[in-house]
Amino acid sequence: MTNYGIKVMKAGYSVTNTDIRNLILSSKYTMLKYHSDTTANLTITAGNTSGYVDFTHNLGYVPAFIAYVQHSWHDTIQRMLPFGISAAPLIETAFSTSSIVRCRVNMIERPDNVTFTFRVVIFKDKIA
């Protein structure tokens, strides 16, 4: 028996429907599993052009993640990383290792202090 398990379909679709998009959930497909959801600030002071903030995960392997950033000079806009503005320039990137997720900023020198609020969702799913 190969066609077994839990299936919940969207309204109007039978469990025999083979289009994965019509499934609400299925034991056939894995899903990303939350490990942590953390926010941290990085302030780059006037005259400086780079910085980073680390999010420790203690998983012991390289996990999948999604990172967002909010800038102090905007109100509520949250952007997904990586993000860049060539004209500024402003470059924000993120990578994961077996111990941390690091969010980084490289930017043009500014006369004022700017704060980056990073939110990182780390999953338990291993990518390396």
Partner: protein, 143 residues
């Protein structure tokens, strides 16, 4: 009967919660299903571009997520299309900025109804590198 199905809530929350964030699992909300995941490597010659083509076998353009270890063996996996600033130690310190790409964007990607394509650009004049990537295709339309 309208309030039925499978519900698992986080500690401290009842199954009457109307807040989706409080659920570990709920059949009320469509889950982001992983249709396909995997990894690969690609050799990127000096001063050139190499494109990884990954077939997904789905009949639609799926949502995707991918990570790339730009510096071989570094264990640092960048998310998505990664802009880099100067010769970047985390990405290999192999002179990514040595090229002529004004956007300094060494990774480009796109997905269609057949493939995910990730184009890696190596700006170093004489050193090739092997990039390792990991990808997810989700069982939901990306467009």
């Amino acid at each position: 009967m309208t309030n039925y199905g499978i519900k698992i809530t986080k500690d401290g929350y009842g199954i009457t919660s109307a807040e989706p964030r409080n659920y570990v699992l709920s059949s009320t909300y469509s889950a982001v299903k992983i249709a396909l995941a995997g990894s690969g490597t690609i050799n990127v010659s000096a001063a050139s571009t190499a494109t990884a083509t990954i077939a997904h076998g789905l009949s639609f353009i799926p949502a995707v997520l991918f990570f790339s270890e730009l510096s071989p063996g570094s264990g640092k996996y960048f998310s998505g299309c990664t802009h880099l600033s100067t010769p970047d130690a985390d990405a290999g310190d192999v002179g990514i900025y040595a090229g002529t790409d004004a956007d300094r964007n060494p990774v480009e990607s796109w997905v269609d109804a057949t493939n995910l394509k990730i184009a890696y650009h190596n700006f170093h004049a004489s050193q090739s590198r092997i990039v390792t990537y990991y990808y997810y295709f989700f069982g939901d339309s990306g467009v």
